[in-house]
Point group: C2
Chain length 187, copies 2
């Protein structure tokens, strides 16, 4: 909730504001979901947005992919999945490196108002993408580019660099009580 | 992230799953934003969704309202705002009661797959809407109806009743460093 008086003058003037780095981390639900909400808000304001998903596979067809297609929002999933990264680490690494190169291009191009790096903590944590390179890219990006990064166990360097960091803690979760994930809600 | 094997059979069969009560609370950013992400996902799966906003005023025209209009997603803001509730508590109360009646109808109708009650912790906390009535409505709702509730200081009764509860903690926030809220990102 943002009070009326906090509406930025940039918006009224149609100018681009200051780009923020936003991190959603923690063990609870809602990290990717919040990033999707940001996409929706920004899209609602005619901003150019993209989401790059580092762990979901290219064949994913979850609620967010279906919505993105209909909205014309660019969403690229290029991961080997959580269950595979330990079995085929080389595959996980090469996909992550490929997607990060794409992400870096998009961030530095200045063509986007918002770039979401979904589940991006993992490729860094696994040592597939060096934190230093990520930081340098964020530091040198055009001033108006917002970057949102989600994932558990976010590297400390990214938390230090970010403007806004939210930790989502799991207070309670029905899955632990044997209730299945529900389509359209969880994925 | 939901692994492939967690995809529900209901979805494949086109049936309605089990409705969940999902709470996003805590002092950090991302509560309303995550609820927006849920709306987007569910909308992507052709589910019928609605968001009722208890604190934003009817004239709000944030990113989410603009997006919702374009998507044909029902979104009703009917609040007196955070800055006003202490000055004109009677107005806040009457608006909240009116919107809750609307919410109750929508939840019990069974016409919706997902009903979001945004910033709904406040009307309960202020004593405008009794927690007992809310619980009864949730308990008696059609089995497939998901209800998501956001807001700080969520009453314990709702946390106890919910299936999934995420607490969003503010680790860091740029606004405390004098950076303005950015349109399309924060609102």
């Amino acid at each position: 909730m943002v009070p009326e008086e906090m509406k930025s003058t940039e918006e009224k003037a149609g100018k681009r504001g200051r780009g923020l780095v936003i991190v959603y981390t923690g063990q609870g639900k809602g990290k990717t979901t919040a990033a999707l909400g940001m996409l929706l808000r920004a899209w609602g304001r005619d901003m150019k947005v993209v989401m790059l998903q580092f762990m979901k596979s290219a064949t994913s067809n979850y609620g967010e992919h279906r919505a993105a297609r209909r909205l014309g929002i660019e969403m690229v999933a290029l991961g080997a999945g959580f269950t595979w990264h330990t079995k085929v680490p080389d595959k996980g690494r090469s996909l992550a490196v490929e997607l990060w190169e794409k992400a870096r291009e998009k961030i530095t191009s200045g063509d986007y108002h918002l770039v979401v790096l979904d589940e991006f903590s993992y490729p860094i944590k696994y040592g597939w993408v060096p934190a230093g390179v990520v930081l340098q890219t964020l530091r040198e990006r055009p001033s108006w580019v917002h970057v949102a990064i989600t994932g558990r166990d976010m590297p400390a360097e990214l938390i230090d660099f970010a403007d806004i960091v939210t930790d989502m803690a799991e207070v309670k979760h029905a899955f632990t009580e044997g209730i299945k994930a529900q389509p359209g809600i969880e994925f």
